[in-house]
Symmetry: D2
Subunit: 373 residues, 4 copies
C-alpha cells in the first residue's frame, strides 16, 4: 500500500534551504516506516533565476518568487520556512492562516512580540507547528536526554553551554547581514547562543533568571559592496549566568571570536550521580561519567549503536553520521507527530520560551543586574 | 543546458547497495558541476519481492532478478556491483563484455586469479573501471595524501594500519556468510585488513614483501538456521609486517575481536619531518605533526574547511560529514574521470595489486616466513 | 664553593605541608644553579606528637608547637605558611615583624581587610614575600604565558576559567572545616575559584568588574564527630562573569559538584589570532591554536621539551612531571628572586588583588548586579 | 622505634642515576610504612670530579671511582646498577659474589649468555635481585594488571605494544653510544622495544614465538668528536609479530623515527569482554572498555584515586604524578620484598626471559622466518 503523499513547499534556499531540502529528500530513503511520502513541490525565493536553479539542484518540481502565492496554494501541505529571521513573521502568519503544517527554522523570531504573535496564530489556527532546533536530534544529544530522564546522573546541579565559532574574528571580515540588527535581530546571541539555550531547556529545564553580558569587539567593518565601513550593531559575543527553575545553575555562551573553534557547540551537565558532555564537532560521541567507585571515568559512547536514537535506519555501529542528519531526524519526527496527531517539539511555544530568555539576557546586559525571564 | 544523463544499474541491494544508491542520488544534489546527471534505472537481486521493495526504497525506476539481463540492456551506462565477493567475477566479465562502465565494491575478487581475469577483461574491453575503496575519499584521508605529496612530512619511514572491530567476539554470534571461506574468500583479512592495505598503497606506496599471521579464535559457531554448529574457516584476525618498495616498513592488521572498537580504521604514518594519524571513528579529523621546534605538537585538523577536498560542496567549516559521503565522493570522481577520459583510481589494477598482497599474507601465514608480493 | 644555606621553617604540616616540604627538599637536587642550599630546620604545628612525626617524615631537623617562638628565632631565614586561611594573618604579621622572607599558601587571607593588612605589613618591613599560587608554575602554564606575551594569539578577547571537583557531591559527606565559613572563609570560591581568578590575572590582566553567583546545594551535612547535622555556610559552587580592564571578557567558575572532574582546573583563552587551552588533569600538555590557513588545528604541545620552562632540570622530552613539581618551581623562583633582589610574583600584592575580586563576587552575589572590583 | 637502615650504593650517575637516586631519597618521605630507612651512602663513576659533583647533587654521602671497591665494602646493603648495558655483567657478578641485594637497570644484559650468567650467579648467591622495568609500576599499568587479573576483560586475544620516539630522526644527529652495538647491545629493540615486551609478558603472558624485522634507516652519522662519520650498527626501528603461549597474538614495536612521539609507550590489549589502553605520555590515565550493552564506551580512568596502586601515599584524586614516581615505586616494592623475604618482580629471571625474546627477534630478522623464543 503506497504511503500518502505530503506536498512540501520550502521558502528560502540558502544554507538552511540546502539542509532542509536534503532532509525532505532523504527521510523516506532511510526511514522505511515513514508514515508519508514527502514530495518536494516548490521552492520559493526572490530571485527568479537563482530559485529556479535551486529547484533543479535540490530536486523540487517547481520554483516560485512569491511566498504569498505559495502559502495560498491548495495543493501544498507543509510550509518549511528557511529564510532569515526578519521574514519569519509574515510567512508564518500567512501559512497558519492557510492551515498549513509549518516547520520554521530557528530563531522563531527577532523579538518576543513577534514570537508570541506567531505562537498565538499557529495555536489559533490549530495547525501543527515545529521549530527547527536541529541539534536536539543528534543521536548523542537524544542519548543524553535518555540518560538524564532515566535518572542515571541524578538531580542536575550544573549546565555549561558554550557555542564557539571563529568566522568573524578578522576585523577585515565584511559587515554581512548577520551583523545587522535590523535583519538578524541579534548577533552571536540569537544565532548560536540560542542553540545553547535551547539545549539547556531541553535537557535541564526552564530558565528562571539570567545575568547577561553582550560585547561587540569590532564595532565597524567593511561594507560588502566596498563603499566604506558599516556599523556592527549586534553582539560578537554573548555570555550569561542562568538559574533554572529546578535549582540548577549554569552558564550559556555564544561567540564568533574563538579562533580554532569552528562549530564548537558544547555542553557539560553535572548531576548528583554523574555527568554528560557533548561537542558538536564530534557529534557522534557522548561523554558520560557515572559514579561507580574508584574505577569510574568519563566514557566516550559512540552513539552509533542500533539501540541509539535514529541510528538503526542508517549504518552499522561505528559508521558515523553527519551534520545534515540532524535535519532529517527533525523532519522525521515532524511527520511522525503529524501522523499521530501529537504536538512535535520543539514548537512555537519553545520558540517563544527561547525568545523570552534571549530577551532577558538583552535586558540584563543593559540593566547590569539579574533579570527574570 | 541540461547535463547528459547516465543510466545506472546496481547489482545487489544490501548494506553496500544502500550506501551506493545513496551516493548516486546525492552526488548531483551537492556537486553542482557534476558532468552527468545519474539516473537510477534498475536495481538487481535474486529475490523479486525484496529487490522490488529496495527499488522503491532507494529510488530506482525498476528492479530485476537477472543480472545477465541487466548487463545486456542497451540503455544502461554504468554497472555498479555491490554483491558479495564470490559473484563479482561473472558480473564484471559480463558487464565488461557489454562495454559498460563498472564500479565494483571491494575486494575486487576472492583470489588473485579472479582479480587478474577481471582486470584483463576490463582492460581488453577498453571500459572505465573503478574499485570502491571508499575510505580513500574521506576528506581527511585526501588531506593526508596532499600533505604527504607536498613533502610536508618528508620521506616516509613507517606505516601502521589497524582496522579493529568487535562484532564477532561473542562465541555465540552465528556463523554468517562472512565467516565462510567459500562465500567471503577470507575473514578480517579481506574484509577490513584490505582497507588498511589499500590505504597503505595509496599513501605510502607498493608493498614488496610481507610476514603474515592469521588466527581463528572461535573455530565453530551456531548456524543461523539453528541446525547446529558450523565451522569457521576464515580468519578472525590477520596481522602482517610489511616492507614497501620505497624502503618504508610497517604493519597492517584487521581483527573482529577488539571490544570497543566499532569501526576503528586507523593509520599512523611517520616521515622524516612529520607524522599523520587518521581514525575512521573520527573521520572528519586528521592529526598532523610537523617538526618546527620545541612548540611542535600533533594538531587536530578538522578537515571541514572549504579548502579541503570535497568539502566546499557540503557545509561550512565545523559541520561534519558522515560515513556515506565517502561513497558519494567515489561516484563523483568516477563521473569526473569518465568525463575527462582518464582512468579513475583505485581501479581493477589496484584491485589486483591488493589481492596480490592479501595472497602473499595468506602464503606467509602458511609458510611462516616472509613472502614476496 | 659551597652555596649559602637558607634555613627554612614551615608552619603547618598537612596536605600543603607535604607539598611544600617536598619542594624545599627537591629543589636543590634538580636545579643545579640554585643560589642557596635550603635547610629544612623546623616544622611547626599544634599537636606535639603529630608534628614530631611530620618532622621525621618530611626531613626537618626539629619540630615545634609554637609558631610565635619559631618566627622569633634568629637562625631562620624563611617562614613558609601552610596553615588554613584563618591563621595566616597573625603568622604573617609576626614573621614580617621579624624580618623573615615569607612564602604563604593561597588564599592569602579570608578577607580583604586581612589581606591588605598583610600586604602593608610585609611592604613596611621590606621583606621578600611570595604567595603560593603553584599552578602558575606548571610548565604548560608558563608556556601559555610566553605564547601570549609573544603576541602569538594576539589581543585577548575571551577567558574561560573553570575549576571543577566532585568530592562533596554526596550529601552524606561530612561537614569538614573547609565547609565552615569561620575557618575557610569561603567554599569553592576561595579554594578553587581563586585559582581560576589568579590564572586569569596572570595570563589576561586585571579584572575590573564582576557579576557573581554563589550556591550551596547541600545546606547541612553530618558533623564529623557524629553528633548530628551541621550547617554548611560556604558556597558549593561559585560562578562569575568578568570584565578585564583591557576589554577582554570571560567567566570564572569553581565547583565541588561536578562528578568525574577530580581536579579539572581548565582555562581557555581566545585571542585575535589564536587560542590556548590548559587542563590540570593533563598538566604537561598545552593545546594551542594559531591561525595559519585551512590546515590549522589545535595542537597538543607536550610541555616537556628542554626549551620549555623548568623542564631541562628534570627529564628528557616526553617524560612527564607531576603535581608537586609546581611547588618546587615556586620555591625555585622565590630563591632566585631573593638572590637577585627582585620581587617574586605572585606576592602579597597579588594576594590582595585576588581577594578584592573574590570580595566583589561575594558582593555581587548579594546585590544581584555587577560590582566593581 | 626507628626503622633499620639500609645502605645503598649506586653505580652510574647519568639519566638513570638521577632517576634512581631520586627514588631512594623520596621513598621514605612518602611511604610511611616503609620497612627500612634507605641511606644514600656512595655513588660510583669513572670520572672523579663528575661523580663527586653527582654525590653532592643527588645527596650521597660519598663518591667512588671503583665499583670493585664499592661492592667489596662490608657496610653496604644494596648495589643499584645504573650504568650502560655493557658493564652490567661484571658489576652484577661482583655484587652477587659479595652477597649484596641488587637492583639492576634494564636491559639486564646485552646478550642471552650474559643474562643467563647473571641470573645463575644471583640465584647461586641466594641474594635478592630485581630488574628495574619501571613502567610496570605506573599506577595505571598496575590497574590494568588488576583489571586483567580480575577477569574483567576476559581471555586475552590481542596485545599491541608500541614504543615510539623521535630523537634520532634527523640524520645529522650524532652517532652517540646508544647507536653502537658494542656498547648498547642493540638499538630501539633493547632500549624501548624491550619495555613493550616486558609489559606484554607482565600483562599477557610468556611469548612463544616471534617474527621480527629490524631496520636502520640512517646507516652512518657524524661522530661526536667531529672527526667524520661513523657507522650505525644497531637498529633504528624494531618490529615483531608475536604469539603468546596462552594463544594471544600481537605485535611489538620500538622506533626512534616517529616524529612527534616523544615517549609514546602505548599498549592496547583486547580480551573477550573488554579492552585496556595505556600511553606513557598520559601515564596517569588508563582507558578501559567493558562490554555492557549499547551505552558501553572507552572510559578514561584517572588512576589517582586512593584505591589505586601506590596513590594513597602521594596526593588526592586528580593530582597527577610524574615519570620518576615509577622508580620510587620500584624501590618501594624491592624493600617490601626484601623485608618479607619474597622475590621481587621483575627480577633477573625476567631479565633473561626478556633477553630470550629479544634474541629470537634478532634471529628472526636474519632468518626471515618465525623463531621460537
Amino acid at each position: 500500500m503506497p504511503k500518502p503523499k505530503l506536498n512540501v513547499a520550502m521558502i528560502g534556499y540558502q544554507f538552511m534551504g540546502r539542509a532542509h531540502s536534503n532532509a525532505w529528500r532523504q527521510v523516506a530513503r532511510f526511514f522505511e516506516d515513514l508514515p508519508y511520502e514527502p514530495v518536494l513541490k516548490v521552492v520559493c525565493g526572490r530571485n527568479a533565476d537563482a530559485v529556479s536553479k535551486a529547484a533543479e539542484q535540490f530536486g523540487f518540481e517547481e520554483s516560485s518568487t512569491s511566498w504569498e502565492e505559495v502559502v495560498a496554494r491548495g495543493d501544498l501541505d507543509v510550509i518549511d520556512v528557511c529564510t532569515p529571521g526578519d521574514s519569519h513573521l509574515p510567512i508564518v502568519l500567512g501559512a497558519a492562516a492557510a492551515g498549513k503544517t509549518i516547520l520554521c527554522e530557528k530563531p522563531l523570531a527577532n523579538s518576543v512580540a513577534e514570537a508570541r504573535q506567531m505562537r498565538d496564530a499557529a495555536e489559533a489556527a490549530g495547525i501543527t507547528h515545529m521549530l527547527c532546533h536541529n541539534y536536539r536530534r543528534a543521536p548523542a544529544v537524544q542519548l543524553a536526554k535518555r540518560i538524564i530522564d532515566e535518572g542515571r546522573i541524578g538531580r542536575i546541579h550544573h549546565y555549561r553551554g558554550t557555542y564557539l565559532q571563529d568566522w568573524i574574528v578578522d576585523p577585515e571580515f565584511p559587515r554581512v547581514w548577520r551583523l545587522e540588527k535590523a535583519k538578524a535581530g541579534s548577533g552571536a546571541l540569537g544565532d548560536i547562543g540560542s542553540h545553547s539555550l535551547d539545549l539547556g531547556r531541553f535537557l535541564v529545564g526552564e530558565i528562571a533568571e539570567v545575568s547577561g553580558l553582550l560585547e561587540t569587539f569590532v564595532k565597524e567593518r567593511p561594507l560588502e559592496d566596498g563603499s566604506g565601513m558599516g556599523a556592527v550593531d549586534v553582539d560578537d559575543a554573548a555570555l550569561a549566568l542562568v538559574r533554572f527553575e529546578n535549582g540548577a545553575i549554569g552558564s550559556v555562551e555564544g561567540t564568533r571570536f574563538a579562533p580554532g573553534r569552528k562549530n564548537y557547540n558544547r555542553f557539560e551537565i553535572n548531576g548528583a550521580k554523574g555527568s554528560v558532555v557533548f561537542d558538536l564537532e564530534r557529534m557522534n560521541e557522548l561523554e558520560v561519567y557515572e559514579e561507580e567507585g574508584p574505577d569510574s571515568g568519563f566514557k566516550t559512547i559512540l552513539a552509533t549503536d542500533e539501540a541509539h536514537p535514529y541510528i538503526a535506519a542508517w549504518w552499522p555501529p561505528g559508521h558515523i553520521i553527519g551534520y545534515e542528519h540532524t535535519f532529517t531526524h527533525t523532519v522525521l519526527d515532524l511527520l511522525r507527530a503529524l501522523h499521530e496527531g501529537v504536538k512535535p517539539t520543539p514548537n512555537f511555544e519553545d520558540g517563544l520560551a527561547n525568545q523570552l530568555v534571549l530577551d532577558a539576557i538583552e535586558r540584563s546586559a543593559v540593566s547590569r543586574k539579574w533579570e527574570d525571564v
